[in-house]
């Protein structure tokens, strides 16, 4: 399968690979996917007191498009508020990376990952009620 240049760039030079301490209250962790399906994404965000994402880290088991989707996401969420980050759509990711139809599920997984990380952070920080309907 031929890959787009943006997928290849993120795959060759993935941004923000790594892990934060899950127990840290300023960290939200989202882990989505399943090994049996061939992809698992772990996305972590560090959120400051103003509800702004200061940093993001990821680790992904999956194909090149899955790695690129999560790498791109860590760049996009930095500096965004939780509400803004929660509005990132899989179609935005798919479009930016020019993913072919068979790889759209990789971008869906990335959207699920940021939503899960935000929900985890809110649950830990007791700000569950601020989850907006979007």
């Amino acid at each position: 399968m031929a890959y787009g240049s943006k997928v290849l760039d993120h795959y060759e030079n993935p941004r923000n690979v790594g892990s934060f301490d899950k127990a840290d209250p300023s960290i939200g962790t989202g882990m989505v996917g399943a090994p049996a399906c061939g992809d698992v994404m772990k996305l972590q965000i560090r959120v400051n007191d103003d509800g702004v994402i200061e940093e993001a880290r990821f680790k992904t088991y999956g194909c090149g498009s899955a790695i690129a989707s999560s790498s791109l996401l860590t760049e996009w969420v930095r500096g965004k508020t939780l509400d803004e980050a929660g509005k990132i759509k899989n179609t935005d990711i798919a479009e930016e990376l020019a993913l072919p139809p068979v790889k759209i599920h990789c971008s869906v997984l990335a959207e699920d990952a940021i939503k899960a990380a935000i929900a985890d952070y809110r649950k830990k920080s007791g700000k569950d009620e601020s989850v907006d309907a979007a």
Binding site: Y11, P35, C37, G38, C63
Partner: protein, 404 residues
């Protein structure tokens, strides 16, 4: 060193230059371009002579009589002709067929078609090493079983089925025994009488011959009957009509002649290369060989690198031409059905790479491959959340995954 390094000899092989040279003599005006079926002039006679010489060379590799070789377009057509030909000819005797879940799609898609036509097919599950349990085979046979088809060597994991033992179970019951030998011909010795097969599918392009040509061995004593699938002129004793592709046929003949001469030396050399590759990779943690390592053709190594997804590994190994059993290489999202049939879990099936070495693989190729894999596996595992969890001592089977 030429890159990418070709390590996909089970997919296809380059034509041996010696074979290509012979083929070129049967194409142009200066060469023997005639129709082998032309009886009235020397062009036809010369072409026919070449075809019959090739037939004898193909027959010799499998210890058959040349009259038992039928030319086809390749192993897929041979499989179709064998299965459909037998099923349709003998359907009044019975309508039950037995085969194995790890067969090539040329068999499985053909038996699916026969099921649609009213035949009943039993798909046997191999053992975890990829080999067939004879007791399970025996238990599956019925009075109305007309055909058993078991591949000689599996294309993904390279394991060699014990055809002789299978033949001893099948033949006394008067059941016809077919085997797809596309992956074994030229790699291990084949004697159709010792193995007890009635029908054997062969391909040229897996043996350094050209694509688009194959053969079906059809036993004459006792005679096996087939209903033709291709009509028009009655070539190949009525079993497969169509003008013979002289240049392809002489290519297959020359390739099989060379295989007969060089097989032993080549197998010994490939065994050393395979052992070196396995040794070189075995200091990587969480590496699993798929399929039996002893009963296996020399050039094949199928390995799962746990916690690394196959397609991303293939991407990382762009300097190597290898194939993966992972889902993502196809659009199906299903991992290799062969590895699944061995009982491999999905993670390991998703993490598999097939290395197949051949005539032109060198020591340097193997050393380069070993170095590259150490580097890339390490990099991808640094990226893998599963590897991190494994290193933290988390049992991945205990995790509730959100399947998608």
């Amino acid at each position: 060193m030429r890159k990418p390094i070709y390590l996909d000899y089970s997919a296809t092989t380059p034509v041996d230059p010696r074979v290509a040279r012979v083929m070129c003599r049967y194409l142009t005006m200066e060469g023997d371009f005639g129709n082998p079926a032309s009886r009235s002039h020397a062009f036809g006679w010369d072409a026919e002579k070449a075809v019959e010489r090739a037939r004898a060379d193909v027959a010799a590799l499998i210890h058959a009589d040349p009259k038992e070789i039928v030319w086809t377009s390749g192993a897929t057509e041979s499989d179709n002709l064998a299965l459909k030909g037998v099923a349709r000819f003998y359907q009044n005797k019975g309508r039950h067929i037995v085969t194995v879940k790890t067969e090539h799609k040329a068999i499985l898609d053909t038996t699916r078609q026969l099921e649609r036509e009213g035949f009943e097919v039993t798909y046997l599950e191999p053992e975890s090493n990829g080999l067939l349990d004879l007791g399970k085979l025996e238990a599956a046979l019925r009075p109305d079983t007309i055909l058993v088809s078991v591949m000689h060597v599996n294309n993904e994991i390279g394991v060699i089925q014990d055809l002789a033992a299978i033949g001893r179970v099948v033949k006394p019951r008067g059941i016809i025994f077919h085997s797809d030998a596309a992956q074994s011909a030229g790699k291990i010795p084949i004697d159709v009488n010792a193995l007890g097969v009635d029908l054997l599918s062969l391909s040229a392009h897996k043996v350094y011959g050209p694509k688009g040509i194959g053969a079906l061995y059809v036993r004459r004593k006792p005679r096996v009957r087939l209903e033709a699938q291709m009509h028009g002129g009655g070539h190949e004793r009525g079993m497969r009509s169509g003008t013979l592709a002289t240049h392809q046929i002489v290519g297959m003949g020359e390739a099989f002649r060379l295989a007969r001469e060089e097989m032993d030396a080549e197998a010994a050399r490939l065994k050393v290369l395979r052992a070196r590759l396995l040794e070189g990779l075995s200091d990587i943690e969480e590496v699993y060989v798929n399929g039996d390592l002893e009963r296996r053709i020399p050039g094949n190594l199928n390995i799962s690198f746990n916690f690394v997804e196959g397609e991303s590994l293939i991407m990382a190994l762009k300097e190597l031409a290898v194939s993966s059993g992972s889902a993502c290489t196809s659009a199906s999202l299903e991992p290799s059905y062969v590895l699944r049939a061995l009982g491999r879990n999905d993670e390991l099936a998703h993490s598999s790479i097939r290395f197949t070495m051949g005539r032109f693989t060198t020591d340097e190729d193997v050393e380069y491959t070993i170095r590259l894999l150490h580097e890339k596996i390490g990099r991808l595992r640094e990226l893998s959340p599963l590897w991190e969890m494994y290193k933290d001592g988390i049992d991945l089977n205990s995790v509730q995954w959100a399947a998608h």
